[in-house]
C-alpha cells in the first residue's frame, strides 16, 4: 500500500497524544508514514512528529494557529490529491470527528470512524470498531479505492518510543482562498466548582445505574462513610444530578485517586479513559459482561441498591 498520512492534532500549544498513538499504529502497517502538520510556528511539533514518522509535511501558516475544520479540509483535499496516500488516519476526537467524515465525502473515499484497530489485508485496511458502548466489536471491510480515510479512537493503542528521524518538508499552504464559512473565536475553559475531583484521594463515581435523582442520597451516604468525593459519568451530569465539574472521562476530568469506586457505570471508553491514573478501581454493576470489570481490580456483580447500603453500613460499623 502507498504511504500512510497521519494528521497531527494540536491545541493550545500542545501536540495531542493521539498524534503519536496514530503514528505508532501507522508504523506497524508496513508502509512509509507521513505526518501532516498544519500549524503556525510549531517547529517543535514537527520535530516530535519526525521522531515517529518517515516524513513530515509541515504547513506553517497563521491560518492554522487554531483548528478550523473547513481550513483543514480544504488543505487536506489538495495534499491528498497531490500525494495520493493509500491511507489517511485522523483522530476521532473533538477536532478530527469535525473533519474526517466531510473530507471523505468531498473526496468520495471509503470512511469509517472511532476505529480501535487496523490491519492490512490484501493491500487494503480492515478495521475494528465497537458498538453498543463497547459491548460488541465489529469488523469493517472497505470497497476498493486508492485512498481510505479512518478516524482513530484516542487512547486505543499506546504511543511508542519514536526513535525515527523523518525528513521535515516545509510546504506552502496549498489553500490560497480565505475560509469564510467558519471562524474560530476562542477557547473557553471549564469552570472548577467547590470540589476539584482531580485532587481527590478517593472517589465514588455514580453512573446511569442509579436511575433517578431521588436515589442519589444512598451514594452521598456511601461517599461520606468512605471519606470520598462524588464523581459521575456523563449520563448523570447530562441529567443534572451532579454538576459538570464532577464528570470523569474524555470530555470531563482525568482523575488519579487512590480509590475509585464505580457504581452503576458500564465502562464505555469515554469514561474509563479518565480513570487510568487511579491506583485501585472497584466496580459494582449488575451486568457481568460490563466493560468496567476489565478496568477494575475488584468487582461485585449485583444490584447496586442492595450492595451500596450494605457497604455504607459496614463502613460506618468499622468506624463506630
Amino acid at each position: 500500500m502507498s504511504d500512510i498520512f497521519v494528521l497531527a492534532e494540536h491545541r493550545q500549544d500542545e501536540l495531542r497524544e493521539v498524534t503519536l498513538e496514530m503514528l505508532t499504529m501507522a508504523g506497524g502497517l508496513g508502509s512509509p508514514v507521513t505526518a501532516v502538520l498544519f500549524g503556525s510556528g510549531v517547529n517543535d511539533f514537527a520535530d516530535k512528529c519526525a521522531s515517529f514518522a518517515d516524513k513530515v509535511i509541515y504547513v506553517d501558516d497563521p491560518t492554522y494557529e487554531n483548528f478550523n475544520s473547513a481550513a483543514y479540509q480544504a488543505a487536506l483535499v489538495e495534499l491528498i490529491k497531490a500525494e495520493k496516500p493509500g491511507l489517511v488516519l485522523i483522530g476521532n476526537t473533538g477536532q478530527g470527528a469535525d473533519l474526517a467524515p466531510s473530507l471523505a465525502v468531498e473526496l468520495d473515499l471509503p470512511y469509517s470512524s472511532d476505529i480501535i484497530a487496523v490491519t492490512i489485508e490484501n493491500d487494503k485496511p480492515v478495521a475494528t470498531r465497537q458498538y453498543y458502548g463497547g459491548k460488541i466489536d465489529g469488523r469493517i471491510e472497505f470497497k476498493d479505492a486508492d485512498t481510505y480515510v479512518l478516524a482513530i479512537r484516542e487512547a486505543a493503542t499506546p504511543a511508542g518510543e519514536g526513535g525515527k528521524s523523518g525528513e521535515i518538508v516545509k510546504t506552502d499552504n496549498p489553500v490560497t482562498t480565505e475560509i469564510t464559512v467558519k471562524r474560530f473565536l476562542e477557547y473557553v475553559e471549564a469552570a472548577i466548582g467547590e470540589v476539584d475531583i482531580t485532587q481527590s484521594t478517593a472517589l465514588v463515581a455514580v453512573g446511569r445505574g442509579i436511575r433517578e435523582d431521588k436515589n442519589m442520597p444512598i451514594m452521598e451516604e456511601l461517599a461520606q462513610a468512605m471519606g470520598a468525593d462524588l464523581a459521575a459519568s456523563r449520563a448523570v451530569v447530562d441529567a443534572g444530578w451532579l454538576p459538570q465539574d464532577r464528570q470523569v472521562g474524555i470530555s470531563g476530568k482525568t482523575v488519579k485517586p487512590k480509590l475509585y469506586l464505580a457504581v452503576g457505570i458500564s465502562g464505555a471508553f469515554q469514561h474509563v479513559t479518565g480513570i487510568k491514573g487511579a491506583d485501585l478501581v472497584v466496580a459494582i454493576n449488575k451486568d457481568p459482561d460490563a466493560p468496567i470489570f476489565q478496568y477494575a481490580d475488584y468487582g461485585i456483580v449485583d444490584d447496586l441498591f442492595k450492595v451500596v447500603p450494605a457497604l455504607t453500613d459496614k463502613l460506618k460499623g468499622m468506624k463506630g
Binding site: 469535525d98 469509517s112 465497537q130 453498543y132 470531563g252
Partner: protein, 265 residues
C-alpha cells in the same frame, strides 16, 4: 428560523445492566428483548430545535430513517413542538454506512426550506459520530460537531460552542444554512404534554422509499456504502477484576475488609 432535526430510533441500552447479544446472522444484535427509544443525543437536538423555534419563530421538520415502529419517536418529537415529519423506509436502506445514511437524509432534506439541520453527535448503538458531519458535506454546507451551545448572532450567522476533550469549549462563528451535531447536556429535554401528544397523533408523517429519494439502488444500503460491517464479535476480554462472590451482605463485607486492609477507609 426553520430547523430540520434528524432522529434515530435505537435499542434502549441506557441502563448499564443491559446485556447485548449477537444474533444468528452475526451482523445484528438480538432485538427482541430491547425496548426502543430516541437516540439520546437526538433527544437533545429535538429540544434545541424547538427552543430555537420558540425564540425565533419558524418550523421544525423531523426526519427519520427507520421502520414503522420509529413513528413513536417521530410523534414524540412532534408532540414536543415539531411541525412536520418525514420517514424514510426501504429494505434497500439496510446496512447503509454513515456516509450513505447522510446521502439518504440529504435526499429528504434538500427540498425543505431550512436554516439549520441538526443531528445528535453520536448514536448509542453504532457510535459513528459521523453522519451529521457527512450530511453537511453532502448538502454542500458548513457544519460544526459536538455542539453544546447555539446562539443566533445575526441573520445568517450563529455563534456555537463545540465541546472538546477535557470539557473545553471551542467557540466559533458559522454561517447558515449549516449542519450542527448536538452534544448531550446542551439543554434539558422537555416531556411532551398530553395535549401535544394528542395533536401529534393527527399530524401526517410523509413516507419516502428509495424511489422517492431519487437515488439509485447502488447509492443506498450496502451497495451504496464504501464501508461494510461484515461481522460482529464478542470483544476479547482483558484481565478481569477479582470478583467478590456472595450476597450483598457478604460482598460488601469483603470489600469493606479489603479497603480497610489497604488503608483506604
Amino acid at each position: 428560523m426553520n430547523v430540520v432535526v434528524c432522529v434515530k430510533q435505537v435499542p434502549d441500552t441506557s441502563d448499564p445492566d443491559t446485556e447485548v447479544h449477537i444474533d444468528s446472522s452475526g451482523r445484528d444484535v438480538e432485538r427482541s428483548k430491547f425496548s426502543f427509544v430516541i437516540n439520546d443525543a437526538d433527544n437533545y437536538a429535538v429540544e434545541e430545535a424547538i427552543l430555537l423555534k420558540e425564540k425565533h419563530g419558524g418550523e421544525v421538520t423531523v426526519v427519520n430513517i427507520g421502520p414503522e415502529t420509529a413513528n413513536q419517536v417521530i410523534r414524540m418529537a412532534l408532540a414536543k413542538g415539531g411541525d412536520k415529519a418525514i420517514r424514510l423506509e426501504d429494505e434497500k436502506f439496510e446496512f447503509s454506512d454513515a456516509v450513505c445514511t447522510a446521502r439518504l437524509l440529504a435526499s429528504a432534506i434538500k427540498d425543505i426550506e431550512y436554516d439549520i439541520v441538526m443531528t445528535g453527535c453520536i448514536a448509542t448503538d453504532d457510535g459513528y459520530t459521523a453522519t451529521g458531519v457527512a450530511l453537511g458535506q453532502v448538502l454542500g454546507l458548513p457544519h460544526a460537531a459536538y455542539v453544546k451551545s447555539v446562539e443566533v448572532v445575526e441573520e445568517g450567522k450563529l455563534k456555537v460552542g463545540r465541546e472538546l476533550e477535557g470539557g473545553i469549549m471551542e467557540m466559533l462563528e458559522i454561517q447558515t444554512p449549516c449542519v450542527l451535531t448536538i452534544q448531550t447536556g446542551i439543554n434539558e429535554p422537555r416531556y411532551a404534554s398530553f395535549k401535544g401528544i394528542r395533536a401529534a397523533s393527527k399530524k401526517e408523517i410523509k413516507l419516502m422509499d428509495l424511489a422517492a429519494t431519487g437515488l439509485s439502488e447502488d447509492e443506498a444500503g450496502e451497495a451504496g456504502s464504501k464501508s461494510v460491517m461484515v461481522q460482529y464479535s464478542v470483544p476479547e476480554v482483558g484481565e478481569l477484576a477479582e470478583m467478590l462472590e456472595g450476597d450483598a451482605a457478604e460482598t460488601s463485607g469483603k470489600l469493606a475488609g479489603i479497603l480497610k486492609e489497604k488503608g483506604l477507609v
